[in-house]
Symmetry: C2
Subunit: 241 residues, 2 copies
């Protein structure tokens, strides 16, 4: 093939961050571009696929290099490869450069989010207050949000934002941040208890309240879904890579 | 980058086919390779990504060219890009050729499956009776099966194999073929009715039985999940590509 598209990796990393009023909201780290195209615009962390590296290793390495973040597991989200994702390289050659980006995503806890590199070119943004990003990165973030919001209904994806043990109020706060809306506490409690996805630990939150709230944990008997073929916990039945 | 990996597309197309004993089983079309590497082995339909074509268009075109199949919608499955997916091109250059394959999948009905090209180099195989395939295609099929089996639990993916109206026995037969195991008719009926995913049409199957079975349809109010950003029915809230 005379004109192979360039291959790149990008990552969408979600964490919950408190806003000025103390509400938890979904946020993601972005990196300011320091060269053309889109110089000065914010973009997802990433870079070209390296020659002797698997795609996920490239994603992890470029994420660490640009943001300092090292999540324990990156999940593949989607490969974006439209024909007009990048502008032409120069006015003399009006053909847009073709870049296929394989995008990974992960959730990180607040403590992990604090490890972000201190740099004027790295910054966390609330997911619902993004500026106009480089390339088609707004669309990619929109798709990642859509997947996250879908997934919260059928997997324990919210776990990524919680400690091992948590109260139902904490779990609800995570769901509210992901879904971007308030949930009725009573309905939420009933739905969660009926699902079997979390179980009471028998312990209660420490403190001075008369009846401190019960601590729950995720039910490890509950099936994880959609972790992809690279998940070391996945039960395989046949060929291995 | 001095050595960009080659980019290819492949497709995993599932249909239900009757075996010699009349049981429905999952099957997929494969194409015999007529050149090196893996000459003579069966492989997933596909080919190199074309220069001026989106990834999904390339997947659809190479599928049609090799098998004659033209499903109305292909969903992106995964991008496979391990370092050792292909053998070295020649003994003089022991470095394996690097190919990143973006894999799409679809379900097709029996009538559509009948449109397959008549060719000695195209053949349907039962998913649980595959020979050793070219490249890492056994692994790719294994992953596609895993996704299909997972997905049947939280989406109406089984719809792809059914007519608009169907009996609960037909629906159960589809689930049995996907999951590769027998299901208890009573438990299945109760689980399906409780889910709200299908609704009775009020009509019954024609025939001479005293009480012919009720016909059901999928509940279109039930949310579809995970159709990807290219799904024209997806409700978007922001940027468009």
């Amino acid at each position: 093939m005379s004109s192979q598209p360039a291959l790149a990796v990008s990552t969408v990393i979600f964490a919950l961050r408190s806003d000025a009023t103390g509400n938890l909201r979904l946020a993601l780290p972005l990196v300011r571009r320091i060269r053309s195209p889109f110089e000065g615009r914010w973009a997802l962390p990433g870079g070209p696929l390296a020659e002797n590296e698997s795609i996920s290793d490239s994603a992890a390495r470029t994420l660490a290099a640009t943001t300092g973040l090292t999540p324990s597991y990156l999940e593949q989200l989607y490969a974006f490869g439209g024909l007009d994702r990048s502008p032409a390289l120069s006015p003399d050659d009006p053909t847009p450069e073709r870049v296929v980006s394989i995008v990974y995503w992960a959730l990180v806890g607040s403590a992990e989010a604090e490890q972000t590199l201190a740099s004027e070119n790295v910054q966390w943004f609330f997911a619902d207050e993004l500026p106009e990003l480089a390339f088609d990165h707004n669309l990619i973030v929109e798709y990642a949000l859509w997947r996250l919001r879908n997934k919260v209904g059928y997997s324990r994806v919210a776990h990524g934002f919680l400690s091992e043990r948590f109260t139902l109020a904490e779990l609800r706060e995570v769901y509210e941040a992901i879904l971007g809306k308030q949930l009725d506490p009573g309905n939420f409690r009933r739905a969660v208890e009926a699902s079997g996805a979390v179980v009471p630990t028998g312990e209660r939150l420490g403190g001075t309240k008369h009846r401190p709230p019960m601590l729950y944990r995720y039910n490890s008997d509950f099936d994880l879904t959609d972790q992809g073929p690279l998940n070391p916990n996945r039960k395989t039945t046949g060929a291995s890579a």
